[in-house]
């Protein structure tokens, strides 16, 4: 399976994975998260776990089970870790969290593994079953830089028993963490329907299906209908661009049935743009991967004008399709776009409009930036790099004894 990635990353890179993993042959690794389907974590584990097995590691993936009450609490915990609010964690909730954790210990036998990766807060309490000689790693996918103190205290009850933790970027790390903290950004998979190559015909068919003119330049933002993604700001920028450039705007996204705010934002932007024949507001079903892929490939310029963002991997998805991206200078967007090289980082509606115009006006610039954008993703944000980072982390956590392995030996 890893061989399939040679056309993307080169044979040498895949060979290096095999060399690296020789040190880990036979090691038993367990990943635990809270869902087999849906969300970025499950998507990554569906690939990473078989990859590890192909490399000679005995990797398994188990899912932590909970009921509505449990997940309602962990959702609140997630939100409180992300941003402080008026809400509090009650002692009942703490007790219930422990109860569900103990129940899961019956189904998830963690004792047979050398390395245990726990993804996000839901299964974090399993650490209470940590054995001697085991290494436990907490993989946090949340921005915890400004947590609610009580939520952080809750996490800390478990975190200090872990051997290491992982965050997407240093900006997401709460400053009081005391255990070793590694930085591993998320990644995209070139074989996911969102990212696979598409025939030109399929791209054209998708555009025409939605009434979009393939001959006219397209500005695209793909995001949930959420105020923090600033669809209104994108529309304002489009209006500024439209004064001189005949172009179209697509805002493609989704909102869940249980997301009243998403529906409100969708209706508001729909009303606002009702008279604009060149604006397309597309509310797509959640599994519209190939449609989104086609829209990204058909776009002239991709925009991600979020006011606040987690990592925002949708930026890498567009970059992988050789598209220059105009993105806000926030969250993970600023870690993906190299300003002036793979796209532009902007601070305002006006800035976004100016950069979009520059790109619409200059095909060579688009091509050059698009080329660098794809190269950037190839090296930094593909799943192969993610896998390599995990292997390296395991080696470091185990205290590798290779004679070449430590820098301290280099300049001691």
């Amino acid at each position: 399976m890893l061989d399939q990635y040679i056309p993307f990353v080169g044979e040498e890179t895949i060979n290096e994975l095999f060399i690296l993993s020789k040190k880990l042959a036979g090691l038993k690794v367990l990943h635990v998260n809270s869902t087999y389907k849906g969300g970025g974590v499950a998507e990554i584990l569906q690939r990473l776990v078989p990859f590890m097995n192909e490399l000679g590691i005995k990797a398994e993936w188990k899912v932590f089970k909970g009921d509505e009450k449990f997940f309602s609490f962990t959702k609140k915990l997630h939100n409180l870790l992300h941003l402080p609010s008026e809400k509090h964690i009650s002692s009942d909730e703490f007790v219930y969290y422990l109860k569900i954790t103990y129940e899961n210990l019956k189904g998830i036998n963690t004792e047979d593994y050398d390395i245990i990766f726990i993804h996000d807060p839901q299964p974090m309490g399993l650490i209470i079953n940590k054995q001697k000689n085991q290494k436990w790693i907490w993989r946090c996918h949340i921005d915890t830089s400004t947590p609610h103190p009580q939520a952080w205290n809750f996490i800390e009850n478990f975190l200090n028993s872990y051997d290491a933790c992982i965050f997407h970027m240093p900006e997401f790390v709460y400053e009081k963490i005391e255990i070793p903290t590694y930085i591993i950004p998320p990644s995209i998979d070139p074989f996911h329907p969102k990212n696979i190559d598409l025939p030109e015909e399929e791209i054209l068919n998708t555009l025409t299906k939605f009434g979009i003119d393939p001959e006219k330049p397209i500005i695209l933002q793909v995001s949930r209908f959420d105020r923090l993604k600033d669809p209104f700001g994108v529309f304002e920028a489009f209006k500024l661009v439209k004064r001189k450039y005949d172009c179209q705007l697509i805002l493609a996204g989704t909102f869940a049935a249980d997301d009243p705010e998403g529906e409100e934002v969708y209706k508001e932007i729909l009303n606002l743009t009702a008279d604009e024949k060149d604006v397309f507001i597309l509310n797509l079903p959640p599994d519209s991967h190939k449609e989104i892929n086609a829209l990204q490939r058909g776009a002239t310029v991709v925009v991600q004008k979020s006011l606040k963002e987690g990592f925002g991997l949708v930026v890498s998805e567009a970059m992988w399709k050789s598209k220059p991206v105009v993105g806000s200078n926030v969250g993970g967007i600023k870690r993906q776009i190299v300003h002036g090289i793979t796209g532009y980082l902007v601070e305002s509606v006006e800035g976004a409009a100016m950069r979009i115009k520059q790109l619409l006006a200059n095909k060579n610039l688009r091509e050059e930036m698009g080329f660098h954008a794809k190269e950037r993703v190839k090296h930094r944000f593909l799943i192969i790099r993610h896998l390599r980072d995990y292997l390296l982390l395991i080696i470091k956590i185990l205290g590798d004894s290779s004679k070449y392995s430590t820098l301290s030996q280099l300049s001691a």
């Binding site: 080169g10 070793p180 903290t181 070449y404």
Partner: protein, 206 residues
């Protein structure tokens, strides 16, 4: 004399040091105490991670100065070539001296903080060994850019010399001109892919 050349490669995983600074004053204080491989990380990351991209500055420290409105400091720090140093402590001192000579607002809280990261490296043997020039060229052709980075750049720190691994081996086998040409390659003006091509061309030349 052993003339074997063992091809190796270098991989990094970044570890956050927990040091986050907001002002020039804090930045210099941190620079004085931070793990020396944090300096290594920030001075070399532009070659290591952005080896495939053109960049405005040669290191990530300079970007921080630039982003916070100190273009002159960014240029001065960018002009410090880490390849001139095989001792990371000397490199640290060069950075501190340059910063301390500048006349800036030391205590102003900057808009963007700087996060000190350190590199945890893993050096692996690639399985290729060269005994003569033909095998050496073949080995380089098969090398990843991480391997090129290791032999051309960081091997100097390991061996405490300003001569890179490739050139050291070439000197040993009497290929002095080729050794000198490779040692003069400037990794900041080319991508590592271009450097790899250039090395092969130099080796194939007369």
């Amino acid at each position: 004399m052993n003339i074997s050349f063992v091809f190796k490669s270098e991989l990094w995983i970044p570890r956050y040091t927990g040091i986050r600074v907001y002002s020039l004053n804090e930045f210099i204080d941190a620079l004085k105490v931070v793990d020396r491989f944090s300096i290594f990380y920030h001075m070399f990351i532009n070659i290591f991670n952005y080896h495939n991209l053109p960049t405005y500055y040669t290191n990530s420290l300079s970007y921080w100065f630039y982003k916070n409105g100190y273009p002159s400091l960014a240029e001065k720090i960018s002009a410090i070539d880490p390849l001139d140093y095989f001792d990371l402590e000397e490199l640290r001192n060069a950075l501190i001296n340059t910063l301390e000579k500048s006349n800036n607002n030391w205590y102003r809280k900057e808009k963007y903080p700087f996060y000190f990261i350190t590199a945890e490296r893993e050096i692996i043997e690639c399985g290729n060994i060269a005994q003569n020039l033909d095998e050496f060229i073949d080995g380089i052709r098969k090398s990843s850019i991480n391997s090129i980075f290791y032999h051309l750049i960081t091997s100097r720190i390991e061996n405490k010399t300003i001569v890179n691994d490739y050139s050291a081996w070439l000197y040993n086998v009497g290929e002095v001109k080729k050794a000198e040409k490779i040692n003069k390659l400037d990794p900041y003006t080319m991508t590592l892919y271009e450097i790899k091509e250039k090395i092969v061309k130099i080796l194939e030349g007369d």
